[in-house]
Symmetry: C2
Subunit: 247 residues, 2 copies
């Protein structure tokens, strides 16, 4: 058996998230279906770096699976992409160490959150950009973000309905990029709690819209209380962009 590591992209708008569920279309369901077909009816387990919620996109999700086949990379890419629906694409595939694990070995991730500041939302990007027609003060968002950098207990930025006990995570950077009407928040860290990126995006946006002060962020972190932070930003602005593996 060989262990393969694949990098995939998907448009979250047609899926009820990554993880398999009863009666709904998910990314994992499509991957399992195609791998089973390629393995002549044999079920193949697929492990991702983490789940993504309904509507959330990925440009660099990483998965692993085991296969007895020895097939060149280009043939694997073609075999998968021909069978997968067009809203999932395999961008890379390579043989990994036999003990490589897409989830347990992930030691960092980059997420990107995208807003559009167009006066009128474009019909073409309505599932891929979150529309904010009001004026945004990006420098206030940058200032507020400083309080989140480093290692903290991020309980205030974690959806209340979670079983995770250790809520300490490290954020290495939060950058804002302006691409014409689009405003992106790029966040890189050791790992993220449930809804953490979306709660950070929602809270920093409130600062950008002058509804909160940049100085409040340190207090919000210290509160360790979800109610202290702002609204969870919409799912369809979020992209899982990269998963880091040092091993």
């Amino acid at each position: 058996m060989k262990r393969l590591k694949a990098t995939i992209a998907y448009d979250g708008s047609g899926f009820s998230g990554y993880q398999i569920q009863l009666k709904t279309r998910t990314v994992q369901l499509e991957l399992l279906r195609v791998l089973k077909e390629l393995h002549k009816g044999q079920q193949v387990e697929v492990v991702a770096s983490g789940r993504t919620d309904s509507g959330v996109h990925a440009t660099g999700q990483v998965i692993h699976f085991d296969t007895p086949f020895t097939i060149p990379k280009d043939s694997w890419m073609r075999a998968l992409n021909v069978r997968l629906p067009q809203d999932i694409r395999v961008h890379d595939i390579e043989e990994a160490a036999p003990d490589f694990h897409a989830r347990y070995h992930a030691d960092g991730k980059i997420y990107r959150y995208k807003w559009t500041r167009s006066k009128i939302i474009s019909p073409f990007t309505r599932h891929h950009l979150v529309h904010v027609p009001q004026a945004i003060d990006v420098s206030r968002m940058q200032q507020a973000a400083q309080a989140l950098l480093g290692t903290h207990d991020f309980s205030s930025f974690c959806a209340a309905n979670t079983n995770v006990v250790d809520k300490v995570r490290t954020i290495w950077r939060i950058d804002f990029e302006e691409h014409g009407e689009e405003l992106h928040m790029v966040i890189e860290g050791s790992g993220f709690l449930y809804n953490m990126v979306r709660i950070i995006a929602g809270t920093l946006l409130e600062v950008g819209l002058n509804r909160r002060e940049p100085e409040e962020l340190a207090e919000i972190v210290a509160a360790r209380d979800r109610d202290a932070a702002g609204k969870t930003a919409a799912a369809h602005g979020l992209y899982l962009e990269k998963v880091h593996y040092s091993r």
Copy 2:
């Protein structure tokens, strides 16, 4: 009564074209529904510059309708955009002459056809760009396009199932634009026959892929036979970008 002229955009991927039909979702159906709602149940007629096919997009379709209301432009925009589905947006609205006619007074149109040359199609643009992974020689397409400029009988570039008798049209320009991996054909003319832009795009692409010679285009025009031209390019690459009115 006032006659209003509105410029609208729509993502064609969720519609069975512009024109109202039984039992399918069309752009006109949504416009009529919203205008009826705004006019307290009174049916309001809507006239577009022309229909667009299933899957075809618009960034600058023009419509007109009559209303007894005197409402400022911004209020009209808001009233319409709040009620319309997000895959249709009104970009502009203004009072027109009482005899203005979106269809009969249109004396030119710009269409844009978009291909992407990415190795792997993006899940995010699969309904908005036509994927051509093979190498395209754009200079051959430019050369071939010259034979289409000017006034010709475009029977060879008209879907066979049409009742139009006069197939003489004038093309003012055909430009190719490269935006990173995207290749756009921008075509401007006095008017276009049914499927004309898509048949031109499909035929010129065959030249770009070395499946036809640039010199063939003059012969194809002269043949006045649909079978002489190439394949009709896919609907989802086509955008109605602008409608010209000199009156």
